[in-house]
């Protein structure tokens, strides 16, 4: 296998593994967050998020430009996106208040970070930071 093919296979495995890991973290926080009716959707949305993050966003496996400058730009872009996501999630949970969280607890806590993650990754990419 060539190094490019190896990178593509590893990227694919990483997409699945981190999607499963994120789902497991929410299951570990509270099994209610990934209960039977929600489990498949939560797992799929997290795999979707990491396919987008490693693939179209970071460009793993692609034949695009490489080098220290690109790597640094991607790292900074990712850091900005994840910091923005953390702040947005914290603000969302504060602003919705306890009542709203109690009503939609499962959906909010397990799917809120990845939705904000998408928003920030697309924004960062659009601004040319990654």
């Amino acid at each position: 296998m060539t190094s490019t093919t190896t990178e593509r296979v590893l990227a694919f495995l990483l997409m699945i593994a981190t999607g499963v890991a994120a789902t497991w973290v929410f299951h570990w926080v509270s099994p209610d967050l990934t209960g039977a009716p929600l489990f498949s959707a939560v797992l799929a949305y997290w795999i979707l998020f990491f396919v987008f993050f490693y693939g179209p966003f970071l460009g793993l496996g692609s034949e695009g430009a490489r080098g220290p400058e690109v790597t640094l730009r991607k790292a900074v872009g990712s850091a900005v996106a994840f910091l923005g996501t953390a702040i947005s999630v914290a603000l969302s949970m504060t602003l919705t208040g306890d009542g709203a969280l109690a009503t939609n607890q499962e959906m909010v806590l397990s799917l809120l970070p990845l939705h904000w993650g998408f928003v920030w990754l697309v924004l960062v990419q659009h601004l040319g930071l990654a």
Binding site: T34, P37, F39, S40, A41, L48, V51, F52, G61, E63
Partner: protein, 126 residues
């Protein structure tokens, strides 16, 4: 070009509406998640048509892309039922009442659409 762009947006809206109506008729969605369903189906048709198919470009290989899109939808369906079957064995509980069937289906469909968008970067046949 503007006319073709409007046509693409209309096609996305029509396909999303048809998807939601069909899934509603099948009992796969409910009033409480209908808004989320509509948004996700709009995204789920916009991504393949505008990003994966590349419309409204003049020479987009629509025929070939339609074939792969059908496969994506079938894979979404297969994974939806597969996880409905294996979920109780993984996290316990029951999926006899499954109000999120539509959201689960659209989630798996989006996974394969995004995967194909990534793969077409280096697999020309896609």
């Amino acid at each position: 070009m503007t006319g073709r762009k409007i046509l693409v947006l209309v096609a996305v809206a029509v396909l999303a509406a048809v998807s939601v109506v069909v899934l509603w008729a099948l009992g796969w969605t409910q009033r409480g998640t209908l808004g989320l369903d509509i948004v996700l189906w709009l995204i789920s048709w916009f991504l393949p048509i505008a990003v994966y198919w590349g419309l409204p470009a003049e020479k987009a290989p629509v025929g070939r892309k339609v074939g792969w899109t059908v496969l994506i939808i079938v894979l979404g369906l297969v994974f939806t039922y597969l996880f409905r079957y294996v979920t109780p064995g993984i996290v316990g509980g029951s999926v006899d009442e499954y109000p999120l069937m539509s959201l689960t289906f659209v989630a798996w469909t989006l996974v394969f659409i995004m995967l194909f968008i990534w793969l077409k970067g280096f697999i020309r046949a896609l």
